[in-house]
């Protein structure tokens, strides 16, 4: 009897430590590229710990808030985050989440999954092509002067500056294409409302590729925004009673620690490194979305699908 108890106690301690370590990795990685890290946590919890997918998703959403808070606190403190830009884009992500929840019952999930796959893969190619030009763009001041600003960006003063530690330079930038950026960001919101993805990847790509925001500011601002979208889903899960607090605690603590470490390192890396990591992540995510669409729409299962 005593032995049985010790065994349960010990195996629980081991799984807590494992969850904590995986979460540190997810938090660290998420902070570098501006994503929530659900892409790591959900499969880890469901495959390694055999948790039901619903429990894994609920735990992931709560831990995404944890990593967003820890990462955002650090980036806002380092003056990299553009809070104004984040607040502005939150209008479209929260509206998107609202619409996503509403149309989730009407539209077939696979159609949306394929649209997302196409969008993410397209942005991946763009991100890869510009990975080397980013440093040059900072040096030549293209982020500062060359980009035509639209009326909304000018009126809301969606501009700012940050100190790039890797380049040792003060970078001024101004946003452009506020409406296009909002539209793409609302897709990130719709995705999180319907497909349970955080949408950090889409936010970062929209800001960097479309709105002319330097990669590091895009990463930091995405990190800042993710918490709000995730907290909406988390409240819903919380009230419905879907959150297992005993899983959430070690995972959230781990992602907090990981995000704190990751956000301390990010500014010291060159943007081309961040962009390359981001590109690999997008390829993977794009493939997963494509496979998910085929699987739910046509029952075709591709290899390596989660």
């Amino acid at each position: 009897m005593l032995f049985g108890f010790a065994e349960i106690y010990f195996s629980m301690l081991i799984s807590y430590i494992l969850m904590f370590l995986i979460a540190i990795f997810a938090g660290f990685f998420g902070a570098l590229v501006g994503i929530g890290g659900g892409i790591v946590i959900v499969p880890a919890l469901s495959i390694i710990f055999h948790l039901p997918v619903h429990t894994a998703i609920a735990a992931s959403i709560v831990s995404v808030i944890a990593t967003s808070i820890a990462g955002a606190r650090s980036y806002v403190d380092q003056q990299i985050t553009n809070v104004r830009l984040g607040m502005f884009l939150e209008i479209s992500t929260t509206l998107g989440a609202l619409v996503g929840t509403l149309i989730g019952v009407m539209v077939h999930g696979w159609i949306l999954a394929e649209i997302f796959a196409a969008l993410i893969l397209y942005m991946a190619v763009f991100s890869f092509r510009t990975r080397k030009t980013e440093d040059k763009m900072i040096e030549t001041g293209i982020y500062d002067n060359g980009i035509p600003r639209d009326r909304i960006s000018r009126s809301l003063k969606l501009a700012g500056n940050y100190h790039d530690a890797a380049m040792g330079a003060e970078v001024n930038y101004q946003a452009t294409r506020a409406i296009e950026g909002s539209l793409i960001s609302s897709l990130a919101g719709i995705g999180s409302g319907m497909l349970g993805i955080g949408g950090g990847v889409i936010k970062v790509a929209a800001m960097n590729s479309l709105m002319g925001i330097p990669m590091k500011v895009a990463v930091a601002t995405s990190k800042f925004m993710i918490g709000v979208t995730a907290s909406i889903s988390a409240v819903v899960y919380f009230i419905a009673g879907g959150i297992d607090f005993y899983v959430v605690a070690p995972v959230a603590l781990g992602t907090m620690l990981g995000a704190t470490l990751g956000s301390a390192v990010m500014n010291k890396l060159h943007s081309r490194v961040i962009k390359t990591v981001f590109f690999i992540l997008m390829l993977y995510l794009g493939y997963q979305m494509f496979a998910k669409g085929l699987s739910t729409g046509f029952n075709i299962n591709l290899p390596g699908m989660l």
């Binding site: 106690y9 808070i69 955002a72 035509p148 009126s155 899960y237 959150i243």
Partner: protein
């Protein structure tokens, strides 16, 4: 998606005073946001750590808890006073979820103090959408879990 790589010299002149937001306002808002996020983070950290330490100190077998577990505020309070680990993990999760939402809410007042009417409006719209999303989510996804 490509053309912004080419410098456009017809753009608004660099250094025009109304392009950059007011530096002191940015610093003030950033400071408020940092304080809220740090407070939420350390509160959550504290509650979770207490909960986990209690869990392993008491050696409880893992009980299944959810919102139904604390059917009243009184039950929750007595859970806290009797050092029930679940009650502390519950509290940690609440403080975690409420941190980003309170960040939006408090920002409304921070922009108000800075007399930045446009952003008072922007932030209020975000807050309304957050509340609406929660309500709609509850109606449509009530069978979660």
């Amino acid at each position: 998606m490509k053309d912004f790589l080419q410098p456009d010299n017809s753009a608004v002149q660099h250094g025009e005073p109304d392009i950059q937001p007011d530096r002191s306002e940015v610093r003030f808002i950033n400071k408020i946001v940092t304080i809220i996020l740090a407070a939420g983070m350390y509160a959550t950290l504290g509650f979770y750590l207490i909960g986990l330490i209690l869990l392993f100190a008491k050696g409880d077998p893992k009980p299944k808890i959810s919102l139904q577990y604390f059917h009243s505020f009184g039950a929750f309070l007595s859970g806290i006073f009797s050092l029930n680990p679940g009650a502390f993990l519950y509290l940690g999760t609440i403080s975690l979820i409420l941190t980003p939402i309170s960040r939006v809410l408090i920002s409304i007042f921070a922009f108000w103090r800075e007399k930045d009417k446009k952003f008072v409006f922007v932030t209020m719209v975000v807050f309304i959408f957050v509340v609406a999303s929660v309500v709609v989510g509850m109606v449509f996804k009530i069978n979660v879990g």
